[in-house]
Amino acid sequence: MSSVNDRGRRDFLKKSAIAASMTVAPGVVLQTLQARAEPRTTAVTSKVRWGMLIDTNKCADGCNDCVAACDKENGIDLVNKPEGADDALWERQRPHWIRHVKLKDNITGRITNLPMMCQHCEYPPCVDVCPTGASFKRADGIVMVDRHICIGCRYCMMACPYKARSFIHAEVAEKLTHTPRGKGCVESCNFCVHRLDNGQTTTACQDACKHKAIVFGDLNDPGSEVSKALKQYPSVQIRDDLKLNTGVRYTNI
């Protein structure tokens, strides 16, 4: 396991830089390489574990801001419906990294709203089953797919208990340099890894939530906002019976 865990960010970025230069115009590559100048020379360490706490009480019914922000940040809005595709079918085929879910408790009838995305499991089933090792967990707890060795077998999608992953069903004409995307590969939320690797400390969904339902940060740092909130309020992991020690926690569910 550890060899997978410790795969450094430099390695990953090197690969994505190659991907970028293959897929986008030269000017754009230049720009990204410049942007990558400083903080990325250090390897990812397990000193940090990125995580999230979501207060479902604050998540508003009917709001879709986090989803829209994620779609934009990660270029998901650029994935167009192929010509001739059936609307209803395509709706089930197009990728989603985050989604808004509205629940009703079967006994009490209480309504809960929450955003759902990859839970960044400490023991991720998707990583365990992946035949090639494309699905991997970084030392800082982020679970993601190396799109250069993903063969598109979709076993990880079968194994993920949260249905967090999407398969790219069609050719993608336009993509962002920091989110390489290719037909036939699988992807899922990566906690806006490109931001974190640039030294930023927030995710797009968190920034977009005006109700402050999402707190993101370093679970290993007792002083971080997310650690303090976790200490203060009772929180749960979804499907905690599976003992995956998720990086995303929920309160008031």
């Binding site: 396991m1 997978v4 879709n64 989803v67 192929p82 079918l89 395509w90 089930r92 085929q93 990728p95 989603h96 989604r99 808004h100 879910v101 509205k102 629940l103 009703k104 408790d105 079967n106 006994i107 309504i111 809960t112 759902m116 089933p125 990583v127 365990d128 089953v129 992946c130 035949p131 090639t132 090792g133 060795i149 993903c150 063969i151 598109g152 077998c153 979709r154 076993y155 999608m157 079968m158 194994a159 993920c160 208990p161 949260y162 249905k163 992953r165 999407s166 398969f167 790219i168 069903h169 069609a170 050719e171 290719g182 037909k183 036939g184 590969c185 699988v186 979804i238 499907r239 599976l242």
Partner: protein, 407 residues
């Protein structure tokens, strides 16, 4: 038993080439379908982000499972020293390889990035049962090929028994491995059952034998070889036992599931209100796949006719496809319990709103790809028996038992 002689498949050339051409056309169409899906992406199929494994997986898993079962006939002859089965061993080994090739071809062509096959061969995650299966499959082909060689080459005959036992053990591991692909998916109610792996082993016995019987009778009929009742009845009785065992495992699987409350919803879905999956379960899996062949095989008169036996074997094959369909696609269509104790009122990503199952309808290219796998298996088998001596010259009752009195 007299010494067994083998010979190449002796049908007339035009017939042989016609047959190959026909299968070639089917394979070409299927290859076209695969290219179409690969070129456009999976949006042209019925597969979605909810039903991620579609019809190609049904065919692929069926063929792979049948492959290990087809070797059974040879194993009974070698590992268990049943002399009657010895002349049947060569074809059994050949079918084991060709079925596996057919199944793997479908599996690979359905990958999102089939062009990255080399990546799959060079990057291994040893925690993944899927990666292990790659070794199990290639190893299986190699060991069966060696087994066949020892079987067919007189000089190597003395090693043939250990090779046979090795192949037999390997195939048990292989089918368990295939079954475990599902066993490892703990999050999905339908798959989280220890019984799935042994059930796959017993299903493989039935499917492999059914295909074996069909191919043997077809090949023998075409070039006028005799398959005596002695051999055939032995095989068909065995088929009956296997079909009954699958039925037994089916019962145990669902009864143990019903025992655990957490699986009630899933059982309701498969057994009662799952629409097409419920229908396929009762009509396809249970009736066509289990009860009908058992009835046909043991029927006092129909069970003794070629037609009855062919019908029984065909039913096992069709029922088997339905079985795998229910397991693979039904298991995905049933919405996973992401939020136990809650009902999903709405979701931006199809989380089984109000407990509704996920939709899937197979598309034509998917079905064509699957059928192509079957055609590839047959093509390779027919070429094999034509160029090498796989078929016994005769399986007549007299040849099998010199003391046999013709009635």
């Amino acid at each position: 038993m007299k010494k067994v002689h083998f010979s190449e498949w002796g049908i007339e050339s035009p017939k042989y080439w016609g047959l190959l051409a026909l299968l070639g056309v089917v394979i070409a169409i299927s290859g076209g379908a695969a290219w179409y899906m690969e070129h456009n992406g999976h949006w042209v199929t019925g597969m979605t982000n909810q039903i991620v494994w579609g019809t190609p997986h049904v065919f692929a898993i069926f063929l792979i499972v049948a492959a290990s079962g087809a070797l059974n006939v040879a194993s009974i002859g070698t590992a268990f020293d049943k002399r009657l089965y010895k002349p049947l061993g060569r074809l059994s080994g050949l079918l084991a390889i060709t079925l596996l090739v057919g199944g793997l071809a479908v599996l690979v062509l359905d990958l999102g990035r089939a062009d990255r096959l080399l990546v799959a061969m060079t990057h291994y995650n040893f925690k993944s049962i899927f990666a292990w299966n790659i070794f199990l499959y290639t190893g299986f082909m190699a060991i069966v090929a060696i087994y066949l060689w020892f079987m067919m080459d007189r000089r190597m005959n003395k090693y043939y028994k250990p090779a046979g036992i090795g192949a037999f053990l390997w195939r048990i591991i292989l089918t368990t491995g295939t079954g475990s692909i599902f066993g490892f998916i703990v999050a999905r109610q339908g798959y989280d059952a220890a019984i799935l792996a042994p059930m796959f082993v017993i299903m493989s016995f039935a499917y492999g034998l059914a295909i074996y019987i069909l191919v043997l009778l077809y090949a023998a009929k075409l070039d006028g070889r005799e398959v005596g009742d002695k051999v055939l009845f032995r095989l068909k009785n065995l088929l009956g036992v296997f079909a009954a065992s699958v039925f037994y495992f089916t019962l145990v699987y669902h009864l143990t599931n019903l025992y655990g409350t957490e699986n009630h919803e899933y059982e309701r879905f498969i057994l009662l209100d799952g629409g097409v999956y419920t229908a396929l379960f009762w009509i396809g899996w249970v009736f066509v796949g289990n009860l009908l062949p058992i009835a046909l095989v043991y029927h006092p008169s129909i069970g003794k006719t070629r037609g009855g036996i062919i019908a029984a074997a065909t039913a096992v094959v069709l029922g088997g496809l339905a079985t795998i369909y229910v397991v693979v696609i039904g298991g995905q269509a049933f919405p996973m319990a992401i939020f136990p104790g809650k009902t999903v009122l709405s979701s931006g990503f199809f989380d089984g709103v109000n407990g509704q199952p996920f939709l899937y309808s197979p598309s034509l290219p998917e079905v064509l790809l699957g059928i192509g796998g079957l055609a590839l298996t047959l093509l390779l088998t027919f070429i094999g028996i034509r160029v090498l001596q796989f078929l016994p010259v005769t399986l007549s009752d007299e040849a099998m038992d010199p003391h046999h009195v013709k009635s």
